[in-house]
């Protein structure tokens, strides 16, 4: 199911589209484009919608994420504890070098499990605890 937040302003829609779908029982959220303070609410509402509907095994597929500013990182920070408290996790996949760099600058690579591909990230939820990261 492709979804695009109805709240997105025209300029925001040009900059960011967010698609969400279920893959093997894992909720995959794929932001495409640029996440900044203007577009972050589109991403955040998709994340919020997943958590509120009890989908706590989440993969953020970053393959088409070109750019992320602190507002987008804040959206992840704002939900991670709730997700983990509920027994789930939020994992990241397919980061471009530029996006990976931002995560590294902030130390996010220590807080989140990051995988090379969406498939690996999805499968990691089926692996026993302590499975190998990419």
């Amino acid at each position: 199911v492709d979804t695009l937040s109805e709240q997105a302003a025209p300029l925001a829609m040009n900059e960011l589209a967010v698609e969400s779908r279920e893959v093997n029982g894992v909720w995959l959220i794929a932001p495409k484009g640029f996440i900044n303070a203007h577009t972050a609410r589109v991403f955040e509402s998709e994340l919020r919608r997943a958590v509120d509907s009890g989908r706590l095994q989440i993969v953020i597929g970053c393959g088409e994420l070109v750019y992320i500013a602190s507002a987008g990182l804040g959206a992840i920070m704002g939900t991670i504890e709730e997700i983990r408290r509920g027994g789930g996790d939020l994992r990241l996949a397919g980061l471009s070098p530029a996006v990976q760099n931002v995560f590294e600058i902030l130390g996010f690579t220590y807080l989140y499990r990051i995988f090379g591909s969406e498939q690996e990230a999805v499968l990691s939820f089926r692996a026993p605890v302590g499975g190998a990261d990419s």
Binding site: E15, N36, A37, A71, G78, A98, N101, V102, I105, L106
Partner: protein, 169 residues
């Protein structure tokens, strides 16, 4: 809705003084945007292009663009509190040493340095979100300063070119 304005002064070699290295005049670019987050993409694009034009590699230029985006975001979201009928000015000055950027607003007094040091683990456990932008700016840029000048907030950023001596803004 007002439009973003960009003005630029092209880099040009000043007349050569005999016996000396030709001096390159700093390139200045000035961008004025409405205090509306929908213009942050314009800030990012201009910052990226100015950083590239002043000699930074694409990855560094992207980081500089992110830092400038964060400074403009602070001005719009925090200094103006989201009010959209103001302006944010972004001034770039590219020199042989590096790139100076000033992000200026006329909003409420703002000193993001007063934000507590970001402790990511604690942030995650408390679901907190603020302060990440300033933290990013500080990590990306070689210097960062916040001043209140005649009723305006001035956030000064400097990114040194690799190989240039340490000169801060």
């Amino acid at each position: 809705v007002s439009m973003a304005k960009v003005s630029a002064v092209a880099t040009g070699a000043a007349p050569q003084i005999r016996g000396r290295q030709p001096r390159v005049r700093p390139a200045r670019v000035r961008l004025v945007i409405p205090s509306n987050t929908s213009y942050l993409g314009v800030v990012r694009d201009v910052a990226q292009r100015v950083a590239r034009a002043s000699g930074f590699d694409p990855d560094t230029a992207s980081q500089v663009a992110l830092a400038v985006d964060e400074a403009a975001t602070n001005a719009i979201v925090h200094a103006y509190g989201g009010a959209e009928d103001h302006e944010v000015e972004v001034c770039f000055k590219a020199t042989a040493t590096g790139l100076f950027v000033a992000v200026i607003d006329s909003g409420a007094r703002l000193d993001p340095r007063r934000l507590p040091e970001v402790d990511l683990q604690r942030y995650a456990s408390e679901g907190r979100k603020g302060g990440l932008g300033v933290h990013l700016m500080g990590r990306i840029m070689d210097s960062m300063a916040f001043r209140r000048v005649t009723g305006r907030n001035v956030c000064s950023l400097f990114k040194r070119k690799s190989g240039s001596p340490e000169v801060g803004g």
